[in-house]
């Protein structure tokens, strides 16, 4: 018998029913819910007279719409539609009796930051949410992926999902990272290599020395963008780093249950003789600090590069690249480090954790942002914000000229008032540079928190290594 991958093992442990054609009911251990993709699902339950099957395994938190300015503490959301959506979550969470962190709770934040922070996300679990960046939780060795609203309703009603199994892909990052290179550069570089559809049909397991050396925060950044590579989910096998992070969190097991859990968690790794459908290897030493130049996360180049010629691509990408450059207002051949920006956004489920804020603050300490620039930091949760204040990081940001915001998704997808105006150009630590993503006509360059901080100081895309 051949060995199993980590994905195989988690899958096998969650099969509640398997039909002859392989269609499987996969049991879901944790269901995270936010205000944008859930109202129609709760309404569906109500209309059918159904209950939430496992309210104890369901965790709700508003994040996408919530304002991040301090006025929100007065309990006011000016945008009526946003307010209705947040109120609907409030009503639904209370009526159906699920765990809930309202806007006023210090534990509120981006759902993918709150889950791990509170110990809801544990190794070996299945985790879903009506949000594609659910892939984040794969950093714990949990099978985690985004679902649509119909599936949200299905999980609420049955605690299962109808699934067919994906294929196994191994992405190995060998060696060590050079100074200035971070988890964000790893994950963007992978997408730059495989393309945004390279992972379609697969679950990716990230492994290799460079991944092992990452903190949990870094692993979450890598897994977060598995979806940008098209994969259903990304995984990192749990190890001592994982166990140390999880231990003592509010909803992590304790005492004898911790011991029992550890016994199983230690078996959660791919066997040496596991079969892989696809293997990709990158050398950690070859990864540079990168930025995106276009309107797809696959449009990645080292900061030392130049805006590419559309003609240097092939197939449908030639037209797509031309369209991207037109939208981005860029000329082929321009050095990336000469592209001027007017906005900096540090935050999101990709890079809104304490380590991300520390990395940016390390660059900003004692410096000021360029005159006229708009720069904001949006911590991923109320607890990240509080910790940053305690560590003095908040003061570094404020002294540098950054706005210090409350927790939420904010300008990553600009559903709240944090948006780019047409033509504005942003150095962003978020995950998508799609047309209009951060505001209609807004232009996004994705990068690491340290790179975004460096850009804030110079007012242009900047190689962070020059500031180290």
């Amino acid at each position: 018998m051949t060995g199993k991958t980590l994905y195989d093992k988690i899958w096998d442990a969650h099969v509640a029913h398997e039909a002859e054609d392989g269609t499987t009911l996969l049991y879901i251990d944790r269901h995270l819910v936010h205000e944008v993709t859930s109202p129609q699902a709760f309404e569906g339950l109500r209309m059918a007279g159904r209950k939430v099957h496992a309210p104890d395994k369901t965790i709700a938190v508003p994040d996408h719409n919530v304002p991040t300015t301090l006025e929100r503490n007065n309990g006011i959301i000016d945008n009526e539609e946003s307010r209705i959506q947040v109120e609907a979550l409030d009503t639904n969470a209370r009526e159906f009796g699920v765990h809930y962190y309202p806007v006023s709770d210090i534990r509120q934040g981006i759902v993918h930051i709150v889950g791990p922070e509170q110990g809801w996300t544990l190794p070996g679990m299945t985790v879903v949410c009506g949000d594609s960046h659910t892939a984040t939780h794969g950093a714990f060795g949990a099978l985690a992926h985004g679902i649509g609203t119909s599936e949200v309703e299905h999980v609420l009603a049955t605690q299962t999902l109808i699934q067919t199994k994906s294929k196994n892909m191994k992405v190995e990052i060998t060696g060590t990272l050079a100074p200035g290179v971070t988890a964000k550069d790893i994950t963007l570089s992978i997408i730059g290599k495989t393309g945004t559809a390279g992972g379609t049909g697969y679950v990716i397991e990230y492994c290799g020395e460079a991944i092992r050396s990452l903190s949990m925060e870094g692993r979450m950044t890598v897994c977060n963008m598995a979806i940008e590579g098209g994969a259903r989910a990304g995984l990192v096998a749990p190890d001592q780093t994982t166990f140390d992070y999880v231990k003592g969190r509010p909803h992590a097991p304790k005492g004898a249950q911790w011991e029992a859990a550890m016994e199983w968690w230690k078996t959660l790794h791919s066997d040496d003789d596991a079969q892989w459908d696809k293997v990709i290897t990158l050398r950690g030493e070859d990864i540079a600090p990168v930025v995106t130049w276009g309107t797809s996360p696959e449009d990645v180049l080292p900061i030392t590069g130049r805006v590419p010629e559309p003609g240097s691509f092939g197939g449908g990408k030639i037209e797509a690249a031309q369209r991207s450059l037109d939208y981005m207002g860029l000329t082929p051949g321009t050095p990336l480090s000469e592209i001027e920006i007017d906005t900096v956004f540090i935050g999101s489920c990709t890079n809104g954790r304490i380590e991300d804020l520390r990395a940016a603050a390390a660059i900003l300490k004692g410096k000021k942002i360029k005159d006229g620039l708009r720069a904001m930091v949006v911590p991923g949760s109320g607890l990240v914000r509080a910790q940053a204040e305690e560590e003095g990081i908040a003061d570094i940001f404020k002294d540098a000229g950054f706005e210090w915001r409350l927790a939420g998704c904010s300008m990553c997808l600009a559903m709240n008032p944090d948006q780019l105006a047409p033509g504005e150009r942003c150095a962003a630590t978020s995950n998508r540079n799609f047309e209009g993503r951060q505001g209609k006509g807004g232009r996004t360059h994705l990068m690491s928190p340290a790179m975004a901080a460096a850009a804030a100081v110079t007012g242009r895309l900047t190689d962070v290594r020059e500031m180290m």
């Binding site: 099969v15 509640a16 029913h17 039909a19 054609d21 269609t23 009911l25 049991y27 251990d29 944008v36 993709t37 059918a48 159904r50 099957h53 395994k57 719409n65 945008n79 539609e81 209705i84 959506q85 544990l122 009506g130 594609s132 659910t134 985004g146 679902i147 649509g148 609203t149 119909s150 599936e151 309703e153 299905h154 009603a157 049955t158 605690q159 299962t160 109808i162 945004t196 559809a197 379609t200 049909g201 979806i227 259903r232 249950q257 859990a261 797809s296 696959e298 197939g315 449908g316 990408k317 037209e319 797509a320 369209r323 997808l413 600009a414 998508r432 799609f434 047309e435 209009g436 006509g441």
Partner: protein, 201 residues
């Protein structure tokens, strides 16, 4: 969910790769708490200018394609977010079938939950259908789910593959939740076993 059996209608060509869900339905329209009414904002930023006026060049604004029921697009259609508002907007506009060389995973799943048929065909066949779609209102294609075939306006037939369970649900307009609840005893059995083996969950 409405059944999908056969569909004959105008096919609109959208020869772009990586059409993402922010293009299909920008975030400002995700604030609804309903499933309906999103069709008027389908492809909003490509379809309308900053004053809300139609951009005449965009395919769905052209007279021939205003009532398109089929969309032919480039690879990796529907990439990006999990928002089901994307298929809701497509359906609300009146499109019930999207043909592309590949789809993003979550979008593909979401289509089936809403009675939309996503059809994957090899890139060169999609290109042939794209050419056919460019003929305008004469580009009436027929999609037959039972037979798993698309017939172009030229009469040329393109067979396609589809998962048998999904096909069954789409042909019969079945509600997934009701089907799963028939297996409630299997779910309860799983839960009682898991309570023993993984009590910390």
């Amino acid at each position: 969910m409405d059944k999908f059996e056969t569909l004959t209608g105008v096919a609109a060509p959208l020869p772009l790769i990586n059409v993402d869900t922010d293009m299909i339905i920008p975030k400002q329209f995700l604030k609804t708490i309903k499933r309906t009414g999103l069709g008027k904002n389908l492809f909003d930023e490509m379809r309308f200018d900053e004053n809300g006026a139609e951009k005449p060049d965009f395919v769905l604004n052209k007279p021939a394609y205003r009532d398109a029921e089929i969309l032919v697009a480039g690879e990796n259609f529907g990439c990006g977010s999990s928002r089901e508002h994307a298929p809701w907007a497509i359906l609300d506009f009146g499109i019930r079938c999207v043909i592309a060389p590949s789809f993003a995973d979550i979008f593909y799943n979401n289509c089936f939950k809403n009675g939309i048929l996503p059809v994957v065909l090899p890139a060169e066949q999609v290109e042939t259908l794209m050419q056919d779609a460019r003929k305008g209102a004469n580009a009436r294609m027929t999609v037959d789910l039972e037979r798993q075939e698309i017939t172009a306006s030229t009469g040329e037939v393109f067979p396609f593959e589809i998962d048998s369970f999904r096909k069954h649900c789409l042909l019969n307009g079945l509600d997934d939740i009701a089907l799963t609840l028939e297996k409630a005893s299997a779910i309860e059995g799983f839960e009682s076993r898991a309570a023993q083996s993984r009590p910390w969950v």
